[in-house]
Each structure stands twice: as structure tokens, then as C-alpha cells.
């Protein structure tokens, strides 16, 4: 059995995404200030949520996440408040898709999507080596 965790690079990647999203939403809220000052609360809420997700939720998620590959199945354990375990038998997995964005490519991370009949398992960004290992396991090459 081989187990993979989310790296610090993935946490930083998501913190950057949350920051960009928060900046965008705050920008919209600031633009609407001239209509109503109530949008200040929107901007403050967005910033608070960004802090919570960026500095507490996602680091905890990364700490609890693990991807395990055995001879028979891929198991993903994740969750912060509600913990879930998803098991996808390798025999039932039909193919794997790797996703990357500009940012994740810069960090050498890919996200995986394992597809089975009426089933789909998506992982957050993990190391490219881990993704290739999962692909090889699904193909039966390992």
C-alpha cells in the first residue's frame, strides 16, 4: 500500500486562489460602496471567510487528507468536520483524467478524477508523481 498526503505546495496554491477570489469579491463590494455603505459588511464578511478558509479550514483539510493505493482499490480519506472515506475498486475504474491550471502547473501539481460506471472520485491537487502512480495502478501496470 502506498499513501500520499497533500503537500504544503497544495495548501499555498489554495491560499493563493482564496486570496484572488476574496480580492475580486471585495473589489465588487467596494465598487458598490457609492450605492450603499452596507456593502462594507459584505467586504468584511468576505475577508473573514477568506481567513477562515485559507488559514484554518484548508490546512486542516490537507492534514486529514490521504490517498492510498493498494492492489485492489484507491481510497481517499478527507474531511474537516465531517470525515469521509471513499473507496474506488481498481477493477471498476474505467479511466483517469488529470487536471491542471496555470497555477497548479507552476507548483507541479495535478488534480485527479477517477471515473467508474455511475461513479466519480475527484481529488484536490497532488504531486504529479502520485498522479502518475494512480494512473499506472488503474492501468494495472504496477
Amino acid at each position: 500500500m502506498t499513501a500520499y498526503k497533500l503537500t504544503k505546495k497544495c495548501v499555498v496554491l489554495w491560499q493563493i486562489r482564496i486570496l484572488l477570489l476574496a480580492l475580486f469579491l471585495c473589489g465588487i463590494a467596494v465598487w458598490f460602496f457609492h450605492i450603499s455603505y452596507a456593502f462594507i459588511f459584505t467586504a468584511v464578511s468576505v475577508i473573514s471567510l477568506a481567513f477562515v478558509f485559507g488559514f484554518w479550514y484548508f490546512p486542516q483539510y490537507a492534514k486529514n487528507f490521504s490517498l492510498e493505493i493498494t492492489d485492489t482499490a484507491v481510497t481517499v480519506k478527507s474531511g474537516v468536520i465531517i470525515k469521509t472515506v471513499k473507496i474506488m475498486p481498481l477493477l471498476r475504474t474505467i479511466y483517469v483524467t488529470r487536471y491542471s491550471t496555470l497555477l497548479s502547473s507552476a507548483f507541479k501539481l495535478n488534480s485527479l478524477c477517477l471515473r467508474a460506471a455511475r461513479g466519480i472520485l475527484i481529488t484536490p491537487e497532488i504531486d504529479i508523481d502520485a498522479c502518475l502512480k494512480v494512473e499506472r495502478a488503474v492501468k494495472g501496470e504496477d
Binding site: I94, V96, Y99, S100, T101, L102, S105, A116, A117, R118
Partner: protein, 478 residues
Amino acid sequence: MKTEFSASKIMMFKYIKPLLFIFILPTLKGVINYLKDSNLSGIITLETLLLIAVIAFAIIKCKSFKISVSDNYLTVSEGVFLKSKSEIEICDISCITVSVSPIDFVFRSAYIRINTEAGSNKKCDFEFRLKRENAFWLYNTVYKTESSLTVKYSFLRLLLSVAAYTSVVTGVIIGVPFINNAGKLLGYGIKDYLINELNAVSNKFGRYVPPVVNAITLSFIFFYLIAFIYSLVKYGGFRFNVGKNNVEISRGVITKIHTRFNKRAVNCLLTEQSFMLRLLKLYSIRLSIGGFGVGKGETSVMDPCCSRHNAHIFLNGFFPAVKEVNGNGVRRICPHEKTLFRFFIGPSWWYLGVLALLYAVTVFFPFVNEFIIFVAAFCTAVFIYYLTLRVFCFKNGYAVLNNVFCIRTIKGFKTAVLYCPKEKVGIVKIVRWPLDFKHKTCSVSVSVLNEHGDKAQALFVDFGQVKEKIYELYKVNV
């Protein structure tokens, strides 16, 4: 040996098609008005810039698409901001479809759809356009051409098939958007014109039948005609080639569509009979293969209307083990003789509920009494027809739990038989209501392991026999 292809240039239209009526055509109209009147508003400038950006993005996205074929694998890479790369084993591809529309004919391209059992129902795994020669090369590589038996339909048989399988609902789904969009494009109220004509004709017979009833009947006939013509064009030239391993289905008059799949990719087979098919003693055969029939308005119907003799040839061709199901000595688990009244309970509750609702409507809206009477009469006719189907289910329904599972039942307003090899069965559900304990019966529901999620249920069959067969097959005590 690895071969790589890029998408055909006209694939960029796939990415701008969703914006065609809501953004692109209005912008082009604005630009044309500017050229005519030299009157340029700020909005049009912005829209034109956005249009250029959208087209540029579509071109880049089209150029980023790559498909490479090696001995055993097919790799599809696409995306601009969100890049994806999928590697599929060729033997996991359940079906491949190549279609050539008039636009593809002009641009020497072909539209390919590759499907596996993964993904969601009614959504293709991969769809793209390649140059025509590349597309057919890929088509013949995934499933090799074999010498095969060709079955073609005569024009009369085709007309009969299309008439039996066409529905008003299909006509509405196709006709309504077409009429709306055609009206917008031409700047002419086609929809209003049709409604006025419909009202005029309905009112002419208003003395004998309420006008609203006439209007509904005429609308049904109109949309049925649209669906009939559409299906005729879609299924014209229908033929299938059955080889040793592969099956190819070709159809279409304006757009030629070829679909190829391997026999072992067939998850289950359904033979269905609608009311008209039952009268004509014909069957509709539907195959379940991942991705077959996911195109817009498509169904996975293999043969929309064939005789009993041909249906058996079909079944034995795909599932030789079906002989085992239909042969002598095979135990069919049938509904218990004391459960006839239970087949009427569900529909009766539905009917009473509808009557109560209609009565409530007449109390609050007395001016629609005539229409309500018509609706009540229609519901009564439907109820009586559905009761006859339930009687059919009682007399002829059965379950066979063997190497090939076979359930004969009703699905909606059709009678159906589901054949599914044991390996493709997903879930077997056994349900027992309080009365089932008294009669020692149960309902057996079989779901197929495929993206369609086909299922069939045999009602109120003998529980002892089901228990025995389940233990024999799965070593599980129920």
C-alpha cells in the same frame, strides 16, 4: 506506434454555439446596423470586443485539443485555463460514433463521439471534430471492420417503425425551440401566427367539441407530424451490420451517423411493446451500451419495430445465453395467483387522487367545467388502459434469476422484458410489504451496472423461489 491528431478548425463553433442566439447574432445585427446607419453605440463597441475575445478563446481552445492513439490507449488532451488529460484503454471504450452533417461534408470534417461506461447518463465522454479521413481512421482503429451480415429496412418498414416510435413529446421538444428561434431570426412572429391559425381552426368546430379540446388535439397532431418527419429524416437509411465481435449501426438522411460497438460492451437488452406495437405484434429492441444513444434527441433503440421471430434472432445474436432463459426446464418465478388485486391498488390511488384534484379545480374555477370533464374522461381512459397493463403484468410477468437475468414487467405504458447477464447486474433489491408476508411473496428489482441505470421490477413473485435462486447465485441468505 503512436498517431496524433488535432481538432478540425470548425470545432471552434462548438464553443461559441451556446452564445449564438443570446450574444453573437444580436452583436452581428448591431454591427450590420452600424454599417447601414453609421450609428455606433457604446454597447455595440463593448459587445464587439467581447465577441472578438470569445472567438479568439474558441480558436485557442480548439487548437489545444489533441488526441493520440497508441496500440492499446487513447489519450485525449484539451483545455486552455483548465487543462485535462485522459488516457483510456481502447478495450474500455464501449461505443464510438462518427457523424457527417452537411456542414461537415463541406468542411471535410466528421464529428466523433467516444463513450465509456463512466460519466453521467445522457452525456458523452468525449466529443470532437477531426478531419474526415482521420475520423474514419480512428473509427476503424477502435473497433476493427469485420465481415458481417447486413440488415436493411424497406421504406414501408421504416415508415411503420418511425410511426410506432414517434411521440408528441419529441415533437414538442424539437418543434417549440425551432419555431421560437426561427421567429426571432426572421423577425416574424411565427409562433403567434401558428397560435392564431390553431385558434381559428379550433373555433370552426366549436359547436361540436369545446375549442380548447380542438386546440389541444390539433397541437398534438401538429407536434406528432414534426416528430414523425424528424424521425424519418433521422432514421432514413437505417441498417446494421452484425459481425462476429462488433456491431455497426448506420442511419440518417441529411446527417449520416455510424455507431460501432463490441457485443461484450452490451450491458443489457430491453424488448418493449407500446400500445401500437402490441396491436401489430411487433417489438422494439433497445440496447444498453455506455454512451449509445446519448446524442440530443437520440435513443438507444436498435430496432424500433421488428417481428417476434426477428426479435429472437436478435437476442440470440447478442446473448446466446438467452436461449437458456427461454428454453424448457428454466424456472420462471411468476406472481402469486392471490395477488391480482394488489396490482390494482397503486393505479387506483393515483386515479382517485387525480379525480379529487379535478373536483377541487371545478369548485374553485367553475368556468372550466367542460375542459375538466374532457380531462377526467381522458384520465379514465388512461386508467383503464393502465389496468389492462397491470393485468398483463399479473398473467405474463416473471423473473428468471440465472446466468442471464430476465424480468418481464411493464415500464410506464409499455410492456418490457429486460435481459441482463449476471456479471452486469448491479443491485438486486428484494422488497416485502406486510401483505407479502401473508402471501409469501416479494418484489424483485434488478438494476444494471451501467450509466443509464436501467432497472426492472417483477412484482409479487414467490419469495421461496427467489430466496433459493439468490442463494444459488450469490451464496447469500435473504
